[in-house]
């Protein structure tokens, strides 16, 4: 352990905790996608086009249309839970882990990067499990889908970093309810996840274009289908990198202020 660079020390802390609690995590990262896909495959997927490919869904079945979008949405969900309650807990409540880290040679910058790195690892675990489950349902049509392993953590950081900038300053956990209801739920429902964005009125459609989840959905959908449009793909990728990067910068300065108190 002594050989670890300082930015990785927080990671080893979170890993130690996770090793003891990973069983509880499985329900959200493994069984939820499994059940969602099973339910869509058996029920709703059969109602839409009798389970056959539809031109309005880009020549895919409904199940194949939704599965890659759920990968991005799962990444968002895991990242938001980490970026809100876990950050707040580490700052204030459960463990007060940030305070312990501050009492050691670990700097505030290392705390931010270490925790966000951990969020990326958590999202990666969830993404890999989702990829495995969804390929078992036959929704993966190209080996390019493996690149979704990059998309998941990137979507995760684009959500976790900006929200962590807020969570570290929060005194109570009550406002996090608003994050889940007013941010996560609308994004989950209206980012082209369950139906093509073309069905939305143009005002709402432009709003969806602005928010990170849609870019993640488009990327992972293209990768699952194996038709990766290079220019648009790079655009989505750059957008997510930009949001994640800006989020990390904001989080860093927010952590500096909040943890100095």
């Amino acid at each position: 352990m002594t050989a670890l660079p300082a930015a990785l020390r927080p990671l080893s802390y979170f890993w130690t905790v996770y090793r003891r609690t990973w069983m509880a995590d499985l329900s959200t990262t493994f069984f939820t996608p499994l059940l969602y896909l099973a339910s869509l495959g058996a029920g709703l997927g059969q109602l839409i086009g009798h389970g056959r490919p539809l031109p309005s869904l880009g020549g895919q079945t409904y199940l194949a249309f939704v599965a890659p979008a759920l990968l991005a949405a799962t990444a968002m969900q895991v990242a938001l839970a980490q970026g809100t309650y876990e950050v707040w807990g580490a700052r204030n409540f459960w463990s007060g882990a940030y305070r312990s880290m501050q009492a050691s040679p670990i700097s505030v910058g290392h705390i931010v990067s270490g925790h966000m790195l951990w969020v990326a690892v958590r999202v990666e675990i969830a993404t890999a499990l989702f990829l495995g489950v969804s390929s078992a349902f036959g929704t993966v049509r190209s080996p390019e889908a493996l690149a979704a392993l990059v998309v998941g953590p990137l979507v995760g950081l684009a959500f976790a970093a900006p929200i962590a900038a807020y969570s570290v300053t929060a005194r109570h956990d009550q406002p996090f309810n608003l994050v889940f209801r007013l941010l996560m739920l609308p994004l989950f429902l209206f980012s082209g996840t369950f139906f093509p964005l073309s069905q939305l009125p143009s005002g709402l459609r432009w709003l969806a274009y602005l928010l990170p989840l849609w870019h993640g959905v488009e990327l992972s959908r293209a990768l699952y289908a194996g038709h990766f449009p290079v220019l648009a793909g790079l655009g989505h990728f750059a957008y997510l990198v930009g949001v994640a990067g800006a989020g990390l910068i904001v989080a860093r300065s927010s952590y500096q202020r909040a943890l100095a108190r």
Binding site: F31, L35, S39, L44, Q46, L47, I48, L178, L185, L189
Partner: protein
Amino acid sequence: MSGSGSQAGMLGSASGAAVPAPQVGPQLAQGPWLRRPLAFASRNFSVQVRAVPYVWASGLIEPFLYLLSIGIGIGHLVGRLPGPSGTLVPYATFVAPGLLATAAMNGAIYECTINIFAKLHWQKLYDAVVATPLSPADVAIAEVGFATFRCMLYAAVFLGAMAGFGDTRSWWALLCVPSATLTGAAFASAGFAASCYMRSWTDFDKIQLVAMPLFLFSATFYPLSELPRWAQLVVEALPLYQGVALCRQFALGYPSASALGHVAYLAVLSSAAGALSQRRVTKLLTP
């Protein structure tokens, strides 16, 4: 638990000896029994509603989001489906009552699982409460009652949203509110009972493991007829299915005798889980 229980008892007798008892105590001890759980429910109201009203208000937006996404999105992909009477209804109209029952279940679980655990083990709130004239059974009644009240409120708003989106078919739809409230009561008492058996927060993911399949497989999103016969029998035995079936027949305006069976199922579940909650919480809080 016995240690903290006896501590609460000591504090109670110490304050009784040192300072004159506040007026509210004897009144609560002597008044009609319902006043005691109501006193505790009013505490919940102050802490959860009056302190952070925006959190409560934000919960009212959820039905609109769900109904909108299905109305303008998924509904277009699905088209029409046969309702309970066999006549075809738009998909949004078919799904809305299912979402109403689900919202009642989720509201009850949200209010009556990890919250209960936190008050029991982290905040030690109930230890303080049983040092007053309130008994552990009063705590269980108050918490389940408060959660049920919340479900009723949300169900009323949900039904309003459904009517606004044109997803109700008759005045029978008004009975969706008591149906969803009963569904909420069943899950609130079950959630309370389960929380009393949990040992750590990591156990709460097991509740999600129960709630998630109920949400997805209780004929919420598609008619029971889509499933093979054996799966239909399984679904018909699920607690959320009772609420979904009740709300759907009322919202679409085709009440049938099967409603009595669904109501009986939910009433039995509420009472059994309620009795278990009272027993278990009394055991936990008695020194």
